[in-house]
Amino acid sequence: MTVMHYALFLGCKIPNHAPQYEISARRVLKALGVAVKDLPFNCCGYPLRDQYFEAFLLSAARNLALAEAKSLTMLTLCKCCLGSLKRAQSFLAESHSLRTMVNDELAREGLTYLGQGQVMHLQSVLYHQVGLERLADLVTRPFRNLGVATLYGCHALRPSRLTNFDNPYQPKIIDELLEVTGAASVAWEGRLRCCGAPLRNKNEALSLSIIGQRLQEFHDSGADILNVDCPHTLLQVQWAFERLEPAQSIKLLGGIALYPQLLGLAMGLRPSELALELNTPQPSQLVHFQAAPPAEATEAGADQDQARPIA
């Protein structure tokens, strides 16, 4: 198998606020033989977009130009970074004057934005580049009878003509990725909806009520854990969880996990290697859903067939 190379784009939230995402993603990518490079990236521009359009565009373009200079596809973990970078690409493709503005600034540090680079989310890379078959080969400890409610993430799904992540109405890639681990992706109300994070610093009450609604929908779905793959959603759930009444929050949410954490566990990695202990709320019951350790790997393989997806 040829080694795949990407420029890992962590964004602002992951390194110091959601390090479990970086740790688990790096660990899983390493196990899959996907090589990632760290470039001196800056903010993707997303937080600047509300009020400083040009600064947003320049920030995004600088990152894109850095990756282009190394001829690497950018691999993002954050879905808002993905959306921001993709939107910036389209703005720059449409407007010659914006491209000139950006390139005049970038030229000062010897960079040029050509618009030939690609940006992909981790899950797109796993689905389209690594492939489900290869993932299935590496799953040694699949989950059994684990119902997962996944939140697709607005800025990856839409606007679909720009993000190219999946079908915005009937997406399937995360469901299929989950099924590879033996888990069942549960159909639920909140699947394609907003987590409220974009309003957190703008209208706190509204933001909290929106994530509260998602948590209620999650509870109603009967799923065992919530899967999110955007640091903003991860932190939003944590924030809401810490603000709700303890009794209520436990009732609403048993645990949360990122996809690379679930995949890593199914690949036989230890929870500590995937920084599972940093999640709030912790998905402590996950181990009970896992097949026996690799010593009985053959049996585990047989069990995988029984774990039927519900979605």
Partner: protein
């Protein structure tokens, strides 16, 4: 006498400055909540924390931090070898000069028999340390000019520090070089130590020093006869070498002396050595006197803070002690610019020319704010910087001194809120809503056809609001609309109504709708639009336009 007087004056000023600063750590309120804590409880809290640290295993961490982070600069080595090298050169070189050269009589003489600064290794070491400091200064200047992002952070305090170091070092080298060449200096030495009896002895020794050590004498005072030089050699062995090593040992000064040789007689005439001596020690004393108010202050505050960080658990610390630490942190910044070079939103500074976007500059503004406020324009700039921060925490993680910038930024936002300055987003929203208010009260709103199009030109694609045919699909797809009971009352306008407003040229009404400001940017409207109107992107643009208007 003048030397002594100016030294004591400088020391006195330095001590007074330090006392003033230390008092500030006990009284300033970096965060509004710090106002509660009087100097007494602050000092007590810090004292308690330190005592607890000293009698615990943390003492070991304290010592380790001082060694690794303080002297060896481990934290700065991690992100830039050049920054580390320049700092180590300056710090080690200067410490060497201070201990062996400036305080030689006080520190080295009691320890070493027959101490003469003109002997080796002292002569050699002085040039070596001086060379280190000078290379460090040159490196710092190069980095400040060439490292992207560092140049923008260079301010008076950096120029002063570089300048004063350069003056001290260059005057020192020049002084030694001039004295090496100087016939006058030579004669003074011989007078004092030589004990020469006959004129031919004086001629012999002069001739030897001219030939071997490069002293420049007026014409006719030396000879190149072999027997004269042989006598000179003998006299040199007898009278000089016990106390004076070959001037060549001071390899840098000697090199400079060779360059200055043609000017030597003129230098003697103008007494250049004396002038350089004054420049040299006065520059040192100016640096010393101003230490508490320049970036040199970090010599004291940075190790103090590092030691505190290692020994004291901040989370569990008495808030009165935290108030003290915040005050100390304002003076601990070495203004090295590391935070600003690595800042996630530093790129935005190139589009929004406000230095307060850069953490090192924002910290300086915070310090000024805490000490005496600032005018409205300055506050507005600081606020913009504070709110453009993307909270990535890189600055906190990278600060070589260990300043908890995350904590200070939170304090800054509280200070601003206290001064009536909240989030610029909310302020822009409120201003836009205020402008739209009058027309909402009217039964019939006047339509201004076509005025909008000319101002919306950030991107060609998002001007397509006029393609809306009001099918309301966007509104039906909107989760905000879905969750409100009375959308018109709670959101002012529904998504399709915003598009309609724009098509009618009612720009202010559109910008003032809460729909625009509370939009989640989930893009469901835009995704659903059958005519590809970029509803969400248009909302983004309305926010931008209103924000620009609010900024003025």
């Amino acid at each position: 006498m003048f030397f002594q007087l100016s030294l004591y004056a400088a020391l006195l000023l330095c001590v007074l400055g330090l006392v003033y600063k230390a008092r500030q750590w006990l009284v300033v309120s970096v965060s509004p909540s710090d106002k509660k804590y009087r100097p007494g409880p602050r000092a007590a809290a810090v004292g308690r924390a330190l005592v607890r640290a000293i009698f615990s295993a943390r003492m070991w961490r304290f010592a380790k931090a001082l060694m690794l982070d303080g002297f060896l600069q481990r934290r700065s080595l991690r992100h830039s070898v050049l920054a580390w090298l320049s700092h180590v050169f300056i710090f080690t070189g200067f410490a060497g000069l201070l201990l062996l050269h400036a305080l030689g009589q006080q520190l080295v003489a009691p320890l070493v028999a027959d101490y003469y600064p003109t002997l080796n290794p002292w002569l050699l070491l002085r040039d070596l340390f001086g060379g280190m400091v000078l290379s460090g200064v040159v490196l710092v200047i190069c980095r400040r000019l060439l490292v992207p992002g560092l140049r923008a952070t260079t301010r008076l305090t950096d120029r002063f520090a570089i300048g004063i170091l350069a003056v001290v070092l260059l005057s020192g080298f020049a002084l030694l070089a001039v004295k090496t060449n100087s016939a006058a200096s030579y004669e003074r030495m011989v007078q004092e130590y030589g004990m020469l009896d006959a004129p031919q002895e004086a001629l012999a020794l002069r001739s030897l020093w001219a030939r071997d050590y490069g002293v420049v004498f007026p014409a006719g005072q030396t000879s190149d006869k072999a027997d004269v030089l042989a006598l000179g050699q003998r006299l040199n062995q007898e009278r000089c070498v016990q106390c004076h090593a070959r001037p060549q040992s001071a390899f840098l000064s000697y090199g400079l002396a060779r360059v200055l040789r043609p000017l030597s007689l003129a230098c003697d005439r103008w007494d250049a050595a004396q002038a350089l001596y004054y420049i040299h020690f006065l520059a040192c004393f100016i640096g010393l006197a101003l230490l508490p108010f320049t970036k040199f202050m970090h010599l004291i505050t940075a190790p103090l803070l590092m030691a505190f960080n290692a020994a004291v658990d901040r989370q569990g610390m008495d808030p009165a002690g935290r108030a003290f630490l915040r005050g100390l942190e304002l003076d601990a910044c070495a203004h090295c610019g590391t935070c600003s070079v690595h800042c996630s939103v530093a790129t935005a500074y190139r589009q929004v020319p406000n230095k307060n976007i850069l953490p090192s500059e924002k910290l300086a503004s915070l310090a000024a704010l805490v000490r005496g406020g600032g005018d409205a324009a300055q506050l507005a700039k600081v606020r913009q910087g504070a709110y453009m921060c993307s909270d990535c925490d890189r600055c906190t993680m990278l600060c070589p001194v260990g300043i908890n910038l995350r904590d200070l930024w939170a304090a800054l936002k509280e200070d601003l809120a206290d001064a009536g300055l909240g989030s610029p987003y909310q302020e822009a929203a409120a201003a836009a809503q205020h402008k739209a208010e009058p027309s909402r009260q009217q039964e019939v709103v006047p339509v201004r056809m076509g005025r909008f199009q000319s101002t919306l030109k950030l991107s060609a694609q998002v001007g397509n609001f006029s393609e809306c045919y009001s099918c309301k699909t966007c509104t039906n797809a909107c989760p905000l609309v879905f969750r409100t009971e009375w959308p018109a009352q709670e959101l002012d306008l529904l998504p399709h109504q915003v598009m309609f407003c724009l098509a009618l040229g009612m720009q202010e009404e559109a910008m003032g709708a809460r729909m625009v400001w509370d939009c989640l940017t989930c893009y469901q409207c835009q995704e659903a639009c059958p005519n590809l109107v970029q509803v969400t992107d248009i909302f983004y643009e309305l926010r931008n336009m209103a924000s620009r208007a609010a900024r003025g």
